[in-house]
């Protein structure tokens, strides 16, 4: 099993922490799924009060989840903004892991791959362990690896769209070109079948958020996603059969009685 910067994950499901109906439901979803990683962000503290503000309550909640924390640079549109956010996240969460997002388009939230490579180089040189949110482009992947990344996270579809795997050929090609690199399909997964398919392609994990948080029953959907990701992972390990165009009877023809 491929490791993520030396870490073996006990589940191929990475789960976001945003958009849940309540903190309790968020916690239930993590408990139900057994997700190995939680993505988090940094935002302006909304004012100190007797409880220390909203962020302090969230801090307590994610600590109680007992999962690996993966801070993100979501919403950053420039290299400087992403690098500064990463430094703040490293201090806040006490981890070198950073999910690096440098957004290039506000409609699709497509990564700015040029800025991404630049920021990845700066952060990797500074000791960060970068999880770059990227596309399936092989050239960009190569540059990210040369910049120091040891994990790649290509999108399945635009963030929050639930469209699934838009470019199976591209993701398959990425897997084939970088057989030793841990790969995560990040973004676009809407259904457990999408998660299973990503894993069947030989990916090492899936990262999703909206599909669980916006489900009618987030905990149930989280469990379904975890089971699907695990099923896909097992299938990939099991070396699936080659599809064929024509039918081939599975029941032996030899020994069939002559009854017509």
């Amino acid at each position: 099993m491929r490791k993520f910067y030396g870490v073996t994950l006990n589940s191929p499901l990475m789960l976001g922490t945003a958009q849940y109906p309540s903190p309790a439901i968020l916690a239930d979803a993590f408990k139900a799924s057994g997700a190995s990683v939680a993505t988090v962000s940094l935002r302006r503290e909304n004012g100190a009060d007797q409880d220390g503000g909203q962020g302090q309550a969230f801090w307590s909640l994610i600590h109680a989840l007992d999962v690996k924390i993966l801070p993100n640079t979501a919403g950053c549109h420039s290299v400087k903004e992403a690098v500064t956010t990463a430094h703040m996240a490293r201090e806040m969460f006490d981890t070198n892991w950073i999910k690096l997002e440098v957004i290039g388009n506000t409609d699709t939230l497509q990564p700015d791959v040029f800025g991404l490579v630049e920021a990845a180089k700066i952060l990797s040189d500074d000791g960060f362990e970068v999880f770059p949110y990227t596309t399936e482009d092989l050239g960009v992947a190569d540059r990210l690896l040369n910049a120091g990344c040891e994990v790649l996270m290509p999108w399945g579809a635009p963030i929050g769209s639930g469209q699934g795997i838009n470019n199976p050929l591209g993701l398959r090609s990425l897997r084939a070109h970088f057989p030793d690199t841990p790969l995560v399909v990040d973004a676009g997964i809407g259904l457990p079948s999408h998660a299973a398919f990503a894993m069947e392609l030989g990916y090492d994990a899936v990262l999703l958020n909206t599909a669980v948080a916006k489900a009618g029953d987030p905990a149930q959907m989280a469990r379904a996603m975890a089971n699907a990701a695990t099923a896909g992972q097992l299938a990939a390990i099991a070396d699936p059969m080659e599809p064929r165009d024509m039918a081939a009877p599975s029941t032996p023809v030899i020994g069939k009685a002559f009854l017509s």
């Binding site: 993505t39 962020g55 801090w59 201090e91 969460f93």
Partner: protein, 65 residues
């Protein structure tokens, strides 16, 4: 002095980031800080001087995808 805290104008007596955080009620909070778009590590807060018009960002852990 007048500074900007998380996008809002704010009057403070403190002259360092560390003292400003205490004055604003964040003494024991889990936060990260930046001044004028530059990261200010926790260890530097006591010595980092604030000036009138500075932009102080106080960030906290939040939900993210």
């Amino acid at each position: 002095m007048q500074i900007n805290v998380n996008g809002k104008s704010c009057q403070i007596k403190a002259t360092t980031v560390f003292d400003a955080l205490a004055e604003l009620g964040y003494a024991d909070a889990k936060i990260a800080t930046a001044v004028n778009e530059a990261f200010i590590p926790e260890a530097v807060r006591p010595t980092h001087k604030l000036h009138s018009g500075d932009r102080l960002e106080i960030l906290a852990p939040m939900q993210g995808g």
